[in-house]
Subunit: 396 residues, 2 copies
C-alpha cells in the first residue's frame, strides 16, 4: 500500500484550557485534607496534567521543569527560559519563573527554594510525587539541595491526591484513548492484507508502527511482539529477527500514543494452521476477558474483576501468565493505578479507564494473553477498543 493512501481520521479537538485549570482546582480542594500548603510537581505527566504544557524536551534529561500549586495564591511554573514562550502559548498558567538552562550548578533550584519560602505556611508540608508508580524526575542531588534549604518544610507524598484525580478521566481524556485505540484497531484489521508467514517479527512490527503513525498515532513506543508454536514463550520482550513460521501464534501487545494518551491492548493471530491447544487457549482467554467485562461495574472492586478472570483460567486447568496482575489503569501513562489483582481492592467508579488483561500458560513455555481497554460508565463498561473476535483469527 502506498504511504500517501493512509491518512488519519479526524482527531478529537484540543483539550480546553479551562479543563487544566479545573484539575488544579480539584487538587487544591483536596490539599487541606492532605495537609499540604503546596504541591511541587516535577514529572512530565503531571506537569502536563495540571498545566496543559507539553514539550518533547522532556526526552532530554538536561533540564528540569517544575510546576507549583499553592493552596492559596496563584499557581506558577519554574522552567528553563527556552520554554517560556511556548509555555505561555499552551498553558492556562500565566505566572512563570525562568532561568537560563543548562546551568548545572543551579538548575532551577534557587528559584524553587525562594518561591516555596514565599508560600504561606499552614501545615509546613509541600506535596511531591513520592508514592507508588512515580519517580523523581529531578536529580536527587537537586532535591536534597531544595530540602536542605527549607528545613522548616516537610516534603510529603502527594501521590494519593494525584491518583484520586487522574483515576477519573474527563470526556476529553477518554476521547484521546478511544481515538488511538480505534486507529490501532484499524491497523490490526488491515494486517491480513500484508502480514504473512516468512516475515520476521521485526518486519511485522516495523510495518505496524509505520501504519499506526500514518493513521494518527504520535508515537508507537511499546511494541511487544513474539511468535511461537503452540504459542509465544514470553510477552515481555520486543520483536526479534525470528521468522514467523506456519503454525505460529503471533501476539502483538501495543501501547501507542495520541496527544499524550495511551492505548494498551493486544491481538493474537495464527499464521497458517494453529494447534488445537492454541485455539482452545484463545477461547478460554477470550471468555475470561468477557467475564471481566461483565464484572466491571461501579461499586465493585478491581480485585473482583481479577477474580472473574482467574476463575476462568483456573477452570481451564491453566497456570496464569506470571504477569502478576490481569489489567491496570490507563491514561497518560501506559500503566496506571490500580492493578487488577487479588490484593488491590480499589473500588471501581464511573470515568475510570481500565485494561482487562487475562493471561495463561497453556502449554509449557506457551502463553496466551488478551487485552482490551474500557471506560467505566454508570451503566457498566464501554469498550474503547473493538472487541477481538471470539475465535483465534488465522492469516493464511
Amino acid at each position: 500500500m502506498s504511504m500517501e493512501a493512509i491518512r488519519p481520521k479526524a482527531p478529537p479537538p484540543p483539550i480546553a484550557l479551562a479543563e487544566f485549570e479545573q484539575r488544579c482546582e480539584h487538587a487544591r480542594a483536596l490539599m487541606a485534607q492532605a495537609q499540604l500548603d503546596a504541591m511541587l510537581i516535577c514529572t512530565e505527566l503531571n506537569v502536563r496534567y495540571f498545566t496543559g504544557f507539553s514539550t518533547q524536551f522532556w526526552t532530554s534529561p538536561t533540564r528540569p521543569w517544575f510546576f507549583v500549586l499553592p493552596r492559596w495564591g496563584r499557581p506558577f511554573a519554574v522552567i528553563p527560559e527556552i520554554g517560556q514562550e511556548n509555555f505561555l502559548q499552551t498553558s492556562w498558567v500565566e505566572d512563570l519563573l525562568t532561568w537560563p538552562s543548562p546551568r548545572p550548578d543551579d538548575e532551577g533550584v534557587s528559584l524553587v527554594v525562594d518561591a516555596l519560602k514565599a508560600i504561606p505556611r499552614t501545615f509546613g508540608r509541600v506535596g511531591m510525587e513520592f508514592g507508588t508508580e512515580t519517580h523523581l524526575r529531578i536529580p536527587v542531588n537537586d532535591f536534597r539541595r531544595i530540602a536542605s534549604a527549607l528545613p522548616q518544610v516537610t516534603f510529603a507524598d502527594a501521590v494519593p491526591l494525584i491518583r484520586r484525580l487522574r483515576n477519573l478521566k474527563s470526556p476529553a481524556e477518554v476521547a484521546r484513548i478511544r481515538y488511538v485505540g480505534q486507529l490501532v484497531c484499524d491497523v490490526f484489521d488491515g494486517m491480513p492484507a500484508w502480514a504473512k508467514a516468512g516475515m520476521t517479527e521485526r518486519e511485522v512490527v516495523r510495518r505496524f508502527q509505520a501504519e499506526a503513525i500514518l493513521r494518527g498515532a504520535d508515537r508507537a513506543p511499546y511494541m511487544i511482539a513474539r511468535s511461537g508454536n503452540p504459542g509465544p514463550e514470553n510477552i515481555i520482550m520486543g520483536p526479534t529477527d525470528k521468522v514467523i513460521a506456519p503454525g505460529d501464534v503471533f501476539i502483538l501487545d501495543t501501547g501507542c500514543q495520541y496527544d499524550g494518551y495511551f492505548c494498551d491492548f493486544d491481538r493474537n493471530v495464527a499464521f497458517g494452521k494453529p494447534t488445537d491447544s492454541a485455539k482452545r487457549a484463545y477461547v478460554t482467554i477470550w471468555q475470561a476477558t468477557e467475564e471481566a467485562i461483565k464484572a466491571v461495574r461501579p461499586g465493585s472492586k478491581v480485585s473482583d474483576v481479577w477474580r472473574a478472570m482467574n476463575k476462568v483460567v483456573e477452570a481451564a486447568g491453566a497456570t496464569n501468565a506470571g504477569v502478576g496482575r490481569m489489567g491496570h489503569g490507563l491514561g497518560l501513562a501506559l500503566t496506571e493505578w490500580p492493578s487488577l489483582m487479588a490484593g488491590d481492592d480499589q473500588v471501581i467508579e464511573p470515568n475510570m479507564v481500565l485494561t482487562i488483561e487475562p493471561g495463561m500458560e497453556f502449554a509449557p513455555n506457551a502463553l496466551m494473553v488478551h487485552e482490551e481497554n474500557l471506560l467505566v460508565t454508570p451503566d457498566g463498561p464501554e469498550l474503547l477498543t473493538r472487541r477481538a473476535p471470539p475465535e483465534l483469527p488465522v492469516i493464511k
Copy 2:
C-alpha cells in the same frame, strides 16, 4: 511510495555480552577511588549499559528494576520475576533476586536492603544515580525505605563515575549511532520526492517518522518540526497543523533510536523561494558548524568548540537561539553530558560522541539552528551524519 519498498539496510551486529561485563570491570576499577562499596543502579539506561538487559517494561512505571555492582563479589540484579527468563537470556549477569510484582508494599525494597546488608563494607558508601542529568527511577518513598533500613550506609552520588564511562563510546556504540544517523539522513534525502508546500507540519512529520521506522529505526520519539517565514519562531515544540506555505523555512530536528542509541540532528529546507535573510542565516550557521567541527580535537575543551561557533554567530551580528548551549553528548540518551557552552570545560577525548548545534535568531522571532553528530577520533572528528549542504536546500 509503497511501504513494502522501504527496507532497512543491514544493522550492526549485537553488542557482545563481554562488552557489558567489561563496562562493569571498568566501573569497579573506579569504585575504590570514589569510595564506594557498591553501586545500586535503578534507571533504564544504566541498567542496560551495565547488564545488556533491555525491556520495554520500563515504559510502565509499575515495576522497578535494580542492578547491584559490588566492589567485591559478583554483580546481581533484583528484578520482578516476570523478567527473569529474559534477563538470563540477554544479560551477562547470572545472579538474580526476584519477587512477584506488582507488590506495592514491598516492590523489591526488602530484597535490595538484605542484599546491600550482605555486601562487605569498607567505605560504608553505596553509589546511586544522584547527579546532574539523572533521575530517581524508583519512588522516593521506596528509596527512603531502603535508606532508613540501612542507617550504616551512606548513599552517595555515582554519576561522576558513570559519566566517565558513558562519555567514551565503544565501537559497537558508535556503530549504532552511525546506523540510525545514516538511515535518518536517507529519509531526509528522500524528502524532496514527497514533501511539498500545502502539507501541514504534522503530515510531513508523520511521513518522516513512518519512513524512519521502515528504514530501521526502532523508535522516532523526538520530532521537533516548525515552519515559518523568514524562519520558524521556535525549536522546542512538536509539529502543528500549520500548513507549510511557499517561502517558509522548515526545520526538522529529530532524535531516532536504534537498539537503545540515539541520533540527534536537524535539517532545514525552504519550500519555494526563501528570503535572502534566511539564505544568509543558513550559510552563517553552516559556517559556524564547520568551524566547530574543525575545533573538535582531543585536548580541546568543549567550551572552545562553543566559542568557535559563537564567534561566527556574533560576527553575523546575531543573537543566539536561546538554547543555552550549542551541542551536547549523545548516546543512550538523546542528550548527555557535556554541554557545549561557555561554562563547561570538559576536555575532549577520543571516543566521545558530540552533537554540534549552533543557532541564532536571524530576524525577530525567526530561528536558524543546525545540528550534526560526530565521533572524536585521535585525528579529529568523524561525522556520523552526512554533512548538510552548504546552501539552504529548496523544495520547489
